[in-house]
């Protein structure tokens, strides 16, 4: 039972942090980041590579966050003066390119062979047996911290400007707000949060390889955010739990149905696609959202 709870805390928790970063960008600022997973990958790889080279973990994690934030800001600066589609195109491209680089720069990343045997926080103190329990606690603490940070920001004047840009950028500008700068900030901060979730994922998995960071991961985050009602941090966390539930039930059911592994994972992905389609068509405000706060729509 405890193992079960620990595994929920770890997977759902890490994905909740990941999705909270996207919720800041999409839910509060209306930015179409279709390459969120790239920033998670940057967090994981930078943290692991630096720590394997003797850099202590905390600075290694921070370095990943800063680098991901800078990458997000750069992509934003290249596209945010243009129509919103361009950010979507460029971020999705970036996430694919990054994965290609991780796969092919073998001298650094060992390609699809992956990286393992890297340090994890407090691994000597805690010991192997209870490590996941400890890490689950750490993940939940980080989740709480990120949640509180984002809630504080969302309720602050800064968050108010962000929401105004999401609703109508021209209004924000007409009231003296530098909309471009706010969008870049949201993109950078959300990407840094994704990087943080990437570092935690690396600690949990003990083994990373580029295929952990497929484009589909980005859209898991999208489903979590939209399901919970875009612009709602608690909803995003709920969305992460629901999606986690979906995966564990479908895996559980696979045991009883005699599908081949490819067919069943394919079927699960078709379902994911249909969920995304269905949500956009029938319930864009999410499960918790109110029509008035509908983030997608008119």
């Amino acid at each position: 039972m405890l193992d079960y709870l620990v595994s929920i805390a770890l997977t759902a928790g890490i994905y909740a942090i990941f999705a909270l970063g996207l919720n800041l960008q999409w839910g509060y600022a209306g930015l179409l980041n279709f390459g969120h997973v790239a920033f998670m990958a940057m967090g994981a790889y930078v943290t692991v590579l630096l720590s394997m080279n003797g850099i202590p973990l905390l600075p290694a994690v921070l370095a990943g966050m800063i680098l991901a934030g800078a990458a997000g800001a750069f992509l934003g600066m290249a596209t945010l003066r243009l129509r919103e589609d361009y950010l979507a195109i460029v971020t999705i491209g970036f996430s694919e390119i990054l994965r290609f680089i991780l796969l092919n720069w073998s001298s650094l990343t060992r390609g699809s062979f992956g990286l393992f045997g890297y340090p994890r926080p407090f691994q000597d103190l805690v010991g192997i047996r209870d490590y996941n329990l400890f890490l689950a606690g750490l993940v939940l603490a980080v989740l709480l911290l990120v949640y509180m940070l984002l809630e504080t920001l969302a309720r602050s004047p800064w968050g108010r400007v962000l929401k105004s840009i999401r609703d109508d950028e021209a209004v924000a500008i007409s009231l003296g707000k530098n909309a471009f700068s706010y969008k870049v900030q949201a993109l950078a901060l959300g990407s840094a949060i994704a990087a943080l979730s990437g570092s935690l994922l690396a600690f949990y998995l003990q083994y990373i390889n580029p295929n952990n960071f497929q484009p589909i991961e980005t859209f898991y985050a999208w489903i979590m955010v939209i399901m919970g009602g875009s612009g709602n941090n608690r909803g995003t966390i709920l969305g992460a739990l629901i999606l986690w539930g979906f995966f564990s039930t479908t895996r559980f059911m696979e045991g009883y149905l005699s599908f081949s592994p490819t067919a069943s994972s394919g079927a699960r992905m078709v379902l994911i696609g249909l969920i995304l389609i269905g949500m956009m068509m029938f319930r864009p405000q999410g499960l918790l959202g109110r029509k008035e706060e509908l983030s997608i729509g008119k």
């Binding site: 800064w158 109508d168 003296g176 707000k177 983030s295």
Partner: protein, 255 residues
């Protein structure tokens, strides 16, 4: 002797061969209300877009408070105290009326990313001040009871009022009102005229674009008539409105 707040000189703006503004010049004296009328497509809203920095002009000069503002980004122009409203009210639908208002305030420390995290008390104190000011202005526009409603749920006329109220939150020196009376019912319109006069008495300068000529005449100190991107006539409202060319320009629109 009154000071000049705004002076736009020889502003030109073309859209693919059509000159929306053709050497258009306009001046606003401190504390004046300037009316801007003209048939559809005369270039009135384009002039607003250019003055407020939303559209770059092709040529001309725009001096606001003694400073050339041509080429400044729109948000910086707003910060200097030149605030516009939009023809079709652009409420932030998914924010409450009060949030809409509070957004308008200038110089908010909490709008910097890190300040709300490290100086909570300062931000909270400033928020309280801004909220009080917002409620005061909402009261002035009879919107206070709506403050917790989503702006998207207001009526067309109320949205117009909110738009103006929100602009006032920015403490403008010059306010550009784009058709403030559109969609406002006649009873409400009379009260709106009264309020705009009060604002003028407080020293605010205003340019009003309006189709309903009686309202413009009731308010304006100066009247400009635009036609095909040019200033057709300007001067004292009663003189301008009796100018035969003005009548013909409107007639031309009907034909």
């Amino acid at each position: 002797m009154a000071n000049e707040v705004l002076s736009a000189i020889s502003v030109c703006k073309g859209f693919g061969g059509i000159l929306a503004l053709d050497h258009c010049s306009i001046r606003v004296e401190e504390g004046d209300i300037v009316g801007l009328i003209g048939p559809n497509g005369a270039g009135k809203s384009t002039l607003f877009d250019v003055i407020s920095g939303f559209l770059p002009p092709d040529a001309g000069s725009i001096v606001f408070s003694g400073r050339e503002i041509l080429g400044l980004p729109a948000y910086k122009i707003a910060r200097l105290g030149l605030v516009r409203t939009f023809q079709i009210p652009r409420s932030l639908m998914r924010m409450t009326v009060l949030e809409n208002m509070m957004l308008g305030a200038q110089g908010q420390a909490g709008e910097r990313l890190y300040i709300p995290l490290i100086r909570r008390h300062k931000v909270m104190a400033q928020e309280k001040e801004i909220r009080e000011k917002a409620e005061e202005i909402l009261e002035f526009f009879d919107l206070r009871r709506m403050r917790d409603e989503y702006a998207g749920s207001l009526s067309g006329g109320q949205k117009k009022m909110l738009e103006m109220a929100r602009a006032l939150m920015a403490d403008p020196r010059l306010l550009l009102l784009d058709e403030p009376f559109a969609g406002v019912n006649p009873a409400l319109a009379d009260r709106l005229i009264e309020r705009i006069r009060i604002l003028k008495e407080k020293g605010l300068s205003i340019i009003i674009i309006e189709h309903a000529i009686p309202y413009v005449l009731a308010l304006s100190d100066e009247l400009y008539v635009l036609n095909k991107g040019r200033v057709l006539a300007s001067g004292r409202p009663d003189a301008v409105i009796s100018d035969r060319r003005v009548f013909e320009a409107y007639l031309g629109e009907g034909a």
